[in-house]
């Protein structure tokens, strides 16, 4: 099976992630789109690792997951703090950082 198929799948998932990141209004959904992007990238890593017979690709996936976990924890904590102060989950209402 050509590697290309895996890469195309990864690309589609990545595109969906970006689209969700730009379109959705709920902060949590945006965050989930980011996680989707990370997953797509993981797939690319594993696919290339399989092609080049290099285990470092899979090791890297491990690290990506760890970082994603840390990021998710902190990010959700921030979201909780934001909701506590702004009382909205709509990203358009979190707009105090402007000139």
């Amino acid at each position: 099976m050509p590697l290309l198929y895996y890469l195309i799948l990864s690309g589609i998932l990545f595109g969906c992630g970006v689209a969700g990141f730009l379109i959705k209004r709920n902060i949590i959904t945006i965050f989930m789109s980011i996680e989707l992007m990370l997953n797509a990238v993981n797939l690319s890593f594993v696919a290339f690792a399989a092609q080049w017979r290099a285990f470092s690709g899979q090791v890297f996936v491990f690290f990506v997951m760890v970082v994603a976990a840390a990021e998710a924890a902190v990010g959700l904590a921030i979201i909780i703090a934001v909701v506590r102060t702004r009382e909205t989950l709509n990203v358009d209402d979190v707009n105090l950082l402007k000139l």
């Binding site: 099976m1 969906c16 989707l36 760890v66």
Partner: protein
């Protein structure tokens, strides 16, 4: 042949879940779609022979991170998305930009001849990955563990209610 069928099966589930994530309005539905995507991806990893990665994908990503997401959604009592102003830039520049980018990359990829990967091409047994982690990639491993520690502390501080923080400061 079997490889192709399985790949297509898992792939379709992935894409369907991803698209569903976009289409759903309630965040809990999006979260559940994401879990489906992650599960299908674990299947893809197995097809490529990455057993360890597939396992931790299910355990850590789908099992811990997504659960965290769902906990937070339920904690915050998130409702359906409301209409709001949005941004012209995001629609007009971001999406076409990304489209152009992906199409270009796709075109480049299509020009080149990528070799085939067989099913189970690179068996990533836990033993092998572990060996690498603790020998070649020891430093990143330790650093990420510190990172996780910091993330835990940060999450606790950020999410804690304000009064409790002040309390601990007064008492500490």
């Amino acid at each position: 042949m079997l490889h192709l069928i399985l790949f297509s099966l898992f792939g379709v589930i992935c894409v369907a879940g991803a698209v569903n994530l976009l289409l759903q309005t309630h965040p809990i539905n999006s979260a559940l779609s994401l879990v489906v995507v992650m599960g299908a991806l674990a299947g893809e990893y197995l097809l490529l022979g990455a057993e360890f990665v597939a396992a931790i994908q299910v355990i850590v990503y789908a099992g811990a991170i997504m659960v965290l997401f769902i906990f937070v959604i339920m904690l915050l009592n998130a409702g359906e998305e409301t209409r709001s102003k949005g941004s012209r830039v995001a629609i007009l520049i971001g999406i076409p930009g990304m489209l152009v980018g992906s199409l270009f990359v796709a075109w480049v990829l299509l020009q080149s001849h990528t070799p085939s990967v067989a099913a189970g091409a690179l068996p990533g047994a836990p033993r092998t990955i572990g060996w690498l982690l603790f020998h070649d990639y020891l430093l990143p491993f330790e650093v990420t563990s510190v990172l996780v520690l910091i993330a835990i502390m940060g999450a606790v501080v950020l999410a804690a209610p304000p009064e409790s923080v002040q309390h601990s400061r007064k008492e500490g």
